[in-house]
Chain length 333, copies 2
Amino acid sequence: MKDVAGIAGVSLATVSRVVNGNADVTPELAARVHEAVDLLGFRRDHTASSLRRSDRVSSTLGIVLEDVSNPFFASVYRGVEEVARERGVLTLAGSSDQEPARERALCEAFASRRVDGLIVARCGEDQSYLQAERRAGLPLVFVDRPPRFIDGDAVVSDNAGGARIAVEHLLARGHRRIGFIGDRETIHTAAERLRGYRAALAAAGIEADPLLIKTGVSTSERADAAARALLRPVPTALFTAQNLITIGALRALRELGLQHRTALVGFDDIMLGDLLEPGVTVIAQDPRAIGRRAAELLFSRLDGFAGTTRQVMIATALIERGSGELPPQASSS
Amino acid sequence: MKDVAGIAGVSLATVSRVVNGNADVTPELAARVHEAVDLLGFRRDHTASSLRRSDRVSSTLGIVLEDVSNPFFASVYRGVEEVARERGVLTLAGSSDQEPARERALCEAFASRRVDGLIVARCGEDQSYLQAERRAGLPLVFVDRPPRFIDGDAVVSDNAGGARIAVEHLLARGHRRIGFIGDRETIHTAAERLRGYRAALAAAGIEADPLLIKTGVSTSERADAAARALLRPVPTALFTAQNLITIGALRALRELGLQHRTALVGFDDIMLGDLLEPGVTVIAQDPRAIGRRAAELLFSRLDGFAGTTRQVMIATALIERGSGELPPQASSS
DNA sequence: CTGAAAGCGCTTACAG
DNA sequence: CTGAAAGCGCTTACAG
């Protein structure tokens, strides 16, 4: 910028003014500046600019997800990006890989880069490490799971409600032995879905059989193994509480030749779920909507909203495709 | 930081030294500083720091993808993140949505935030707008498609080779009428795959039938319609040149009841492709490897490598699952 | 309308 | 080992 001023023969202040298009500058001077800018290929340093600017906004958001390549989180990210884009805001994203230490490291790295706000899908059990930033006015929005030991807006799916609907759906078709496969109970969404499962059974007067409940499963490979193990006592139906788990279970059912015998309802929609035989019945979340709402909550804070913390719940939807409508069958083992 | 210095009763310089852990500071002073840091919840402003630092690195990478929620690009992103993470580097990402103007806007926004390097999956026909940054020393790595009108490292899949293998695979099973569905030919990968298709036919002495070639298809919905139209002259096999296109074609085949009659080989692997009936034969790319290699090329430049531009080609692999092994069937219409 | 000067939060020679 | 001072690239009152 100094060089631009030199070539254009004007002061630094004038260059700043025309580059930012604010104050009035004589057309003639402005033209000289533009020429110099083009000549040098000058691009204003956004970081230096926001350092000095009175509003101090970086026009950057930080997002911590479990894994940017998981279709669910990739869609959440997409939703955030869409609304951030409209405001000319860029997004820094990172994957925690379910490691609390990484979640924290990412949040701190984002904070030290002075992002305007943070959207986080937590995995750790304690987000109080964000207390100082929060007090300093950094807007915090949690997605997928509400925060712990800190206050913050949150956008979550109706996990318990959706799970309950899934299980009621199976109960309505006569199933009584319904298996559950989910992630670690320390993960909020996993715990909520298990809660919904138990609630549906309880409401139907059925005691949950511990042998039919398998938790701590987070990859599709482990879900495959878990499903095989679970299928020994031959439940007539399976409720799989997450996309990767559903995929693993589908694989297991197929390898055991049970896909047309054992009913299945999965939480999270999966790509191609409609083309399998039978089609995969799911409780679909709306990850893009989650991302969009989260970004909207964040921007409302940036726009000055100072009310108390809001918790938005995004509805889930049952999509019947066949696997969840299979009737209970007598055990074959 | 000024406040920290005040509370600790030391100079700004000393605070800077202990916060960065560089120079030697008396343990006693260091302790006082740490205390003050904890007390105030101080976190060094990374942007101000890198503004003044001699090396000027921001420890940030910019990545422009076609769509962060497309599984292919999400995996590329993941690969980049993995190697960036090892170096403590954060990633800014954005979706161009196949709009050249957005591609450019994202690159420029990243550049003005002084990222240490740029990884871009271009969609536009001209990246010369990056010339000034390149001259200024900004490392540029292109993924998925090589750059146009500018020099830069590139990491791409063997698109033509993979497509050729796909079509040869079908030819070997006796297919002579093989349909092609792909994206706009202005998209490099789409053009390359069409080239591989033509090359395989030519090598087999078969003239390409324009009626069997459908380009300009970019969503699975449009691919569904394209596949239906294409299936009128009843090709015995289909080569679908991209993941979303494969999905649309699978849907069309199924709705027409042709999934066991018309062979199909898709470019890009798709989730659950192994669980469909028949399983979906694909030419699989390795998007994570693309992302990793791209980041490695970028960091090698940051580490001082100054050689000429490198072009890395990532191999593709044919995965036989059934759909590509169906023999040609007589027309039923 | 334009420029000289102060300063954003930090780092880094330079003295001491 | 520690501090005073200059300065990174920019913006913004303040004069003129």
